[in-house]
Amino acid sequence: MADAKVIPFDDDRSRGAAVQRPARRRAAGSRRKGGGEQAAAVREPAAAREPAAGRESGVVREVQPLAGRIPAQEDVHVTRENPETGVTQPPHDEAGLEQRVARGLAFLRRRLTGDYEVDDFGYDEELTDQVLMSLLRPVYEKYFRVDVKGIENIPAEGGALIVANHSGTLPLDGLMMQVAVHDRHPANRHLRLLAADLVFVLPVVNELARKLGHTLACAEDAERLLGQGELVGVMPEGFKGIGKPFGERYKLQRFGRGGFVSTALRKGVPIIPCSIVGAEEIYPMIGNAKTLARVLGIPYFPLTPTFPWLGPLGAVPLPTKWTIQFGEPIPTDGYPPEAAEDPMLMFNLTDQVREQIQHTLYKLLVQRRSVFF
């Protein structure tokens, strides 16, 4: 079973991306928990087809059970895809396609029979990796063309708290940060975002947020996640940041009450400041229909040059060019245990994080050539 090659389901990208980041793709494949069963499931349908396939080419291999029909010339490809050679070939040929079909069906089969696992927070790693991330990735790569800097500041393991600025009317910045951490980090770490309670009130949104690994922004959940050694992302500006008018772009708002600092102090995890440039301009909010927002029970109702005037078309974000920079980690393990209760220290640390993010934002803005390129 160990020799069965498992290529992640979302292989569409690997045509282009495998060349640049072969190591990452392989790591993702071997890291996946269900890798073994997946391969096992792949083989089962092949067994059913065995007689037909055997008639045609007479060859049914162990490693490539679905490649029964491929012409002999393409066997070269198949052998090259062997893990022993260590080279992942983009699946150009029919065999690769068949393999993907088989993997997709194995995945579908597991989903339809409920044979997958979620954690206590409702995080569905398999669904996130194979479906939801694949849906977000084109937005991340093609639409916003996110540039990631300083990914090495995120530790390869153990808890850490990523603190980022928040902007853009809709929390796309959090989702893009999640994709950035997952795709660019050598250990493919999963970012667990803390989201506002509104997210968990709304139908559909709450379901997707939970499955993506998000949870409610409260000290209990954050501490539990950090205690499990997870990477937690928080945007302490909250609605003040995401719903600020376009004129105040890239001006950091108040960082709540600094609860994130005491949480990090209690767990002794480093705080990683993160600056996101580009998200401010996706929906330039020129007005706020407060009465309508109150009626709908939401914190703000954005009016942009296009929304709601153009209807759903106006809700398409502007294709800005993004940069996400992860800054130097601020260690918190040197403080005594009672430090988490010390308001002075908390305010100082909060300011330090805030200053660092603001500073990096200005630096990135100076370097930026244009909003869209």
């Binding site: 389901f9 089962e44 349908p45 092949a46 059913a48 087809r49 037909a52 396939a53 679905l66 029964g68 029909r69 029919e94 396609l97 068949e98 993907r100 079909v101 088989a102 997709g104 069906l105 995945f107 579908l108 089969r109 989903r111 339809l112 029979t113 409920g114 044979d115 997958y116 696992e117 979620v118 954690d119 206590d120 927070f121 409702g122 569905d124 669904l127 194979q130 479906v131 939801l132 694949s134 849906l135 309670d197 968990f200 009130v201 709304l202 139908p203 559909v204 949104v205 709450n206 379901e207 939970r210 499955k211 949870t215 409610l216 409260c218 209990e220 959940d221 539990r224």
Partner: protein, 353 residues
């Protein structure tokens, strides 16, 4: 030892099991109705715990341990919701009053429920024993348990010499469990709330018996069995996973429609689809079981998933048995058209649901 609520399956099983323990000399089983199952030689006394006679029963028996299992969500047989509430609340008050007067009582075990935490979107993802609920349950069984626990806390203050153990059980499931959730899962088609996929936690009835046993005896070395403990199997299942493993299709409905349908079903008396049940099936609830492991020293035999698997085995196969679904997928895989190289582009979107 005095055990209440023995006419129910769980109470009956507990009474039968506890008699095998060498520490137990005599078991007095109490309920308002005659149990249909045998009690394995326990002395059954038919009395209503809502009546003061329970004090006489307790005094005459000289029981040193009281296990109160008559806190339940569903009426037994043809009782109404009002009777259940009275048994839960008034019955507990009478029983606690009786315990307070009895100098013999050294230990009190209460079967409570994680319903006390309510279920709201603004709650933390995982409840610990000390988490205050954001929204107190407004009615139904959940409110009963909150009130029962309130009386028990008062009792514990007045009688500090009695070891009081409150066990907050997650949803109890198993081959014979007759809980509201079990009846929900035996519906042919599961109505769910559109756009919500609640996280559920189960505890197996065998584990319930076991933890009640641990709580009703002297604590083992290095453990403490007085206090409040969450009892749940490891892990979490989403409602969507449950329905797929059970092989029963779901009908997602809008929240108002579910509330309306729930009251309709309740009026018809088919199943207890109470508001707090709907809240549970909307927002879900997960509890932390560190206290149960570390302080009480109890390790459940079944995880949430294993409990559910055991429950599924005892159920009739649903309309979409997982095995048939799996076979259907395999048949698609075996289709010659697919091996010809057509990508099932709809696969990812389908599975996203």
């Amino acid at each position: 030892m005095l055990v209440t609520g023995v006419a129910r399956q769980l109470g009956g099983r507990f009474v039968r099991r506890i008699q095998h323990d060498p520490e137990v000399d005599r078991v007095i089983a109490v309920d308002a109705v005659l149990p249909e199952h045998h009690l394995g030689g326990a002395d059954f006394i038919q009395t209503d715990i809502r009546q003061p006679t329970i004090a006489r029963v307790l005094a005459e028996s000289g029981a040193d341990t009281v296990v109160h299992m008559d806190v339940t969500g569903t009426p037994l047989g043809s009782g109404s919701r009002a009777t259940v509430k009275e048994t839960n609340v008034i019955g507990t008050m009478q029983l606690l009053g009786a315990c307070q007067k009895s100098p013999n009582v050294k230990r009190l075990v209460i079967k409570s429920s994680t319903n006390v935490y309510g279920s709201a979107p603004k709650d933390p993802a995982v409840f610990t024993e000390t988490t205050p609920p954001k929204s107190l349950p407004s009615g139904g069984f959940a409110k009963d348990t909150v009130e029962v626990e309130g009386y028990v806390r008062g009792f514990a203050r007045r009688r500090p010499d009695v070891a009081v153990c409150v066990l907050r059980f997650a949803n109890i499931l198993g081959p014979t469990a007759d809980t509201p959730l079990a009846s929900y899962f035996s519906l042919p088609v599961l109505p769910t709330v559109l756009g919500y996929d609640p996280r559920l936690q189960f505890v197996h009835e065998d584990d319930v018996i076991e933890v009640l046993r641990i709580a009703s005896h002297e604590p083992a070395r290095g453990t403490l069995n007085s206090g409040t403990f969450n009892v749940a199997g490891d892990g979490v299942l989403l409602l969507s996973q449950c329905s797929r493993r059970l092989g029963r299709p779901t009908v997602p409905l809008l929240l108002p429609a579910v509330t309306w349908a729930g009251s309709l079903v309740r009026t018809l008396g088919m199943t207890d689809f109470s508001p707090e049940q709907i809240r549970l099936l909307t927002h879900g609830r997960v509890v932390d079981t560190v206290q149960m492991r570390d302080t009480l020293g109890f390790r459940p035999q079944y995880t949430t998933a294993e409990t559910f698997a055991d429950f599924v085995r005892a159920q009739d196969p649903g309309l979409l048995p997982p095995r048939a679904v799996a076979a259907a997928v395999d048949r698609i895989a075996a289709l010659p058209a697919l091996s010809g190289g057509r990508t099932p582009t709809k696969t990812p979107t389908q599975s996203a649901n």
